[in-house]
Symmetry: C2
Subunit: 108 residues, 2 copies
DNA sequence: TTTTCTCATAACCATATAGTTATGGATGTC
DNA sequence: GACATCCATAACTATATGGTTATGAGAAAA
């Protein structure tokens, strides 16, 4: 199971409809396409397409049961996002530490 | 100073060129447009446009000095992103806790 | 079997987006 | 003043994207 690229994740989550679908799956748990379509303000094919993109990004899992498909959030797929923001902030902290060191040295 | 919306942030960071610019500002610190253009594989106007979008999302600050503009990363703007991923994961943990509770109760 | 239901895909359209070249304004240099 | 440099904006183009309606495949119901 390879890590999804941050690029795929950012792109998948950049769209408000997709983010709303993902959030709903996170908050309310597994849902069928029909249920998700009911809540979203868009057509069923649009929902299916969005779910396909979320799935490709590793953000959701699908489970077929009879004639309906259940989707659920795969929150662990957010890991690369957390890593990325962490990396960006780590450098901020590092440079902040540098600044602190500098100020300390200037104090002495 | 109002929090930038997750939507603006996700959209701003969804583009690889913009993310590369932001990463570079995070890692290497303040840069002029010229310096950034040198590294990026795109034209100077393209870089300027991307920087404009990053600025609108609150991700970068600009500082004018003579005829050049220096851009720097505003990492604190990532806060809404961290919050969002946190919220999505909190619910995961909550439901995980529920599962644990359930298993414990089943054990007794 | 026939019909109905659920979802995915196809085909299409309008708009958004990311890039380009051209240009101009402001600032520094000669 | 004349020229060069740095950046932003304008105008344009090609492609990507998000939506639609139409349709079809597969499973359940009749």
């Amino acid at each position: 199971m390879t890590q999804p690229s941050p690029d795929l994740l950012f792109k998948a989550l950049a769209d408000p409809s997709r983010r709303a679908l993902f959030e709903r799956l996170c908050l309310d748990g597994e849902q069928t396409v029909g249920a998700l379509t009911a809540g979203a303000g868009i057509s069923q094919p649009a929902v299916s397409k969005h779910l396909g993109i979320l799935k490709q990004a590793g953000l959701v899992l699908d489970r077929h049961e009879g004639r309906q498909t259940h989707y659920s959030a795969q929150q662990s797929a957010l890991a690369p996002l957390v890593d990325w923001t962490g990396r960006m902030n780590r450098f901020w902290e590092a440079r902040f530490d540098d600044l602190e060191d500098l100020l300390k040295r200037m104090d002495q």
